[in-house]
């Protein structure tokens, strides 16, 4: 196995991109990544793209070939593969790209993610996303994602006594970070009152507990670590990559407010990276709902179960806290173009490790990403460090 580095990152702005098509989102993020790595498209050996549901969102399948074509690479005939694991599609694309480079099969590999979610109406979006759960046992019974995560929240509150205010502080903190991120969908701070008085979606989750519907794309360029300096002075090394699965239905879990796949994926990544929890200086976690961030902090092993709410209240997860969580603003404030989120997380950690994160810069040598599909049926964790 070869060591692998991230040598280029590219993002579109996240938000409601009415004037940008699905294919143009990808091309824009890819072009930014190539520019960042100072390379041309002809150097790319292979592309993996994470995309959850272009078939439902923009009625487009066969996304890999479309992307190769509109990236101007059709005549190069390189392999381009779309991978799908609901909201963890981006995380999966990253792991596939990592595997391709580490194995020696390909040298320069792009891992990308793209989703255009605003071209259909809200109920269609909600139903497409519900496909990330078990359609027969959850979706057809009426469960949507806010509903499923509200069950997690209710169970968590019952077991650990989390307060409604603590839950809201997750959103407040992520908006504070998002306000410092120029590509974030919501670049504004909010107050706890705003969260507590926002529209009730699925008790106890309110609108401001939920990540938004987002159009956006992200791309990173991977290459063997020993070639990284050809492309950048500040390569970031991939220390550990873990992917895990669990039951697709929430009700089949051992414990519905613990995401065992998060723990399993993190353990794989930590073992490979040969680092400890205490060595991690920042984490991009999958806060599709505020409760998910609290579960993630605990299930990744950074805090004892039931304590993340209090730690959030004490400011431990803030940019200047003990372990900054979601410096990008997370899914809540930066936005959640589902297939792109796992790659955006890697872009953020890479940007941070290079010291290029501007007002939201965290001082850390090692960072981690945590990308979840469904209610935790697929999880991808990555650990990245300065090379």
């Amino acid at each position: 196995m070869r060591e692998v580095a991230v040598v280029g990152v590219g993002l579109t702005e996240f938000g409601e991109k009415w004037n940008t098509s699905f294919r143009n989102l990808f091309v824009e993020a890819g072009a930014h990544a190539l520019e960042d790595a100072g390379m041309g498209g002809d150097e790319i050996d292979e592309i993996f793209v994470g995309n959850m549901s272009a078939g439902r969102f923009v009625l487009q399948e066969h996304v890999g070939a479309l992307i190769a074509d509109y990236a101007g690479l059709a005549s190069n005939h390189i392999p381009v593969t779309r991978v799908e694991a609901a909201c963890a599609s981006g995380g999966l694309a990253f792991r596939q790209a990592y595997t391709a480079v580490a194995s020696g099969l390909s040298d320069i590999v792009v891992a990308a993610g793209v989703e255009k979610m605003n071209d259909v109406d809200g109920s269609e979006t909600t139903d497409a996303l519900a496909g990330a759960a078990d359609r027969e046992w959850e979706g057809l019974a009426g469960a949507t994602f806010p509903g499923l995560y509200s069950l997690i929240a209710v169970d968590y509150i019952h077991k650990y006594g989390l307060t409604r205010e603590q839950l809201g502080m997750v959103s407040v903190k992520n908006h504070r970070n998002g306000a410092k991120n120029p590509i974030a969908q919501f670049q504004k701070e909010i107050t706890l009152d705003t969260v507590l008085n926002s529209t009730l979606v699925a008790d106890p989750l309110r609108l401001m507990d939920c990540s938004p519907v987002t159009d956006g794309a992200a791309a990173v360029i991977l290459c063997p670590l020993d070639r990284a300096k050809e492309f950048t002075d500040t390569p970031v090394k991939i220390l550990g990559v873990g992917q895990a699965t669990d039951t697709i239905s929430l009700h089949d879990r051992r414990d519905i407010s613990t995401l065992d796949a998060t723990t399993a994926a993190a353990n794989v990544a930590f073992r490979q990276a040969k680092v400890e929890r205490k060595d991690i200086g920042m984490v991009e976690v999958h806060d599709c709902f505020t409760i998910a961030e609290l579960c993630a902090i605990e299930d990744l092993g950074f805090a004892k179960k039931g304590t993340a709410g209090k730690l959030t209240e004490e400011g431990w997860t803030a940019l200047d806290g003990g372990l900054p969580i979601n410096p990008s603003g997370g899914l809540k404030a930066c936005g959640h173009p589902v297939g792109a989120t796992g790659i955006k997380q890697v872009c953020e950690i890479t940007t941070q490790l290079r010291g290029e994160a501007g007002a939201r810069q965290v001082d850390a040598d090692i960072g981690m990403t945590h990308n979840v599909g469904g209610t935790g049926a697929t999880v991808v964790c990555n650990i990245l460090g300065r090379a």
Partner: protein
């Protein structure tokens, strides 16, 4: 100079509160009211439709000024709820006010801006000398499917603007439009209720066109927002016109006199004519009015208007017809059951 000779508005008496609609659908009425800035909306009576509303508005306009209706050479009624798909609303209005038979007439449709499109068409006929007066009406009994977001705002009402050149109560200094093919809201032939693109109706629809037309007007006239005493924007809810006017630099004081939507709902083609009527109810000679309508599909018409001395002269009597404030205050609340009956949502067996 071409201008407004007289004006009139009509609003049905019945109202339903946002909270009452929300109650039926298990939604949080307070949240919806706050989000839309709409607290209640008008509902037509069982026998009211776009024709009767248009006639009432036209009669209110003619009550304010002594003129020969036979000299009205053109009538355009803009609406998206003409009672007949084929059979013009405009001739029934012409007949009712005594403008027939020496006149041209047509029904217009451009979602919520067909009324202001009628004003522009009328201005052209008057300026060219083809007619002495042209009557433009914007009027609707708007449809919103039960339980759809539109049901909270779709209301009924209309306004009439008579355009001419002789002693106008307000001069129309300039008009221009900003249009594009933007499918944010539509209703196909035979469909009972319109469809809409959800959030797409905001930025790419309303804001692009309203702000686009308004900026073009400010540039064309070399004016700033502070040069106007009043500003009227299309008002599908209270949030959109407030945000658009704020981004352009207009103040709440400038838009509030013409912002009827919080206690009227969205009268669609009637919205800007009713808002303009409310402003003309109170405007003083010399005051300047900025107007931008919006019709989904999509387009905006902007107008720069200056009120003249005629509005306070012997030949014009504002008090001869009810003001928009009078019409808003004269109200009777319905519960959802009676509202459903008024709107024809209760289907009787054959």
């Amino acid at each position: 100079m071409v201008g407004i000779i007289t004006y009139g508005a009509y609003l049905p008496r019945y109202r339903i509160k946002t909270e009452e609609i929300a109650r039926v659908w298990g939604a949080n009425g307070a949240d919806i009211s706050r989000g839309l800035g709409v607290f209640e909306k008008s509902v037509p009576d069982l026998d009211e439709d776009t024709i009767t509303i248009s006639v009432e508005a036209a009669r209110a306009a003619l009550a304010r000024r002594d003129l020969d209706p036979a000299e009205i050479g053109a009538i355009y009624v803009g609406s998206e709820s003409h009672p007949y798909a084929v059979k013009p609303t405009s001739v029934t209005v012409g007949e009712a006010i005594g403008a027939t038979p020496v006149m041209t007439a047509a029904d217009l449709e451009f979602a919520c801006k067909a009324g202001t499109a009628g004003v522009q068409a009328g201005m052209g006929l008057v300026k060219s000398g083809m007619v002495k007066y042209a009557l433009a009406i914007g009027s609707d009994t708007a449809q919103g499917a039960p339980g759809d977001a539109l049901e909270y705002t779709a209301s009924a009402g209309g306004g009439a603007i008579l355009v001419g050149e002789e002693d106008p109560i307000a001069e129309i200094n300039h008009t221009l439009s900003f249009s594009s093919d933007t499918p944010d809201f539509w209703r196909r032939e035979g469909q009972e209720y319109p469809s809409h693109g959800g959030r797409f109706s905001g930025e790419p629809g309303y804001f692009k066109h309203v702000v686009g037309a308004s900026k073009m007007m400010l540039e064309a006239m070399g004016t700033r927002p502070s040069d106007y005493d009043y500003a009227i924007f299309h008002q599908p809810n209270a949030k959109f016109p407030r945000n658009a006017s704020k981004s352009l630099g207009f103040s709440a004081e400038q838009i509030n006199p013409g912002l009827m939507v919080p206690y009227l709902g969205n009268t669609y083609s009637g919205a800007v004519p009713v808002g303009l009527s409310a402003v003309l109810d109170v405007a003083k000679p010399g005051e300047r009015i900025f107007v931008t309508s919006y019709g989904s599909g999509a387009g905006s018409d902007s107008f720069d208007i200056t009120v003249t001395d005629v509005i306070d002269s012997d030949i014009f009597d504002r008090s001869a017809a009810p003001t928009v404030a009078d019409l808003l205050a004269d109200k009777k609340y319905l519960d959802y059951a009676l509202y459903a009956k008024h709107k024809g949502k209760i289907v009787m067996p054959e």
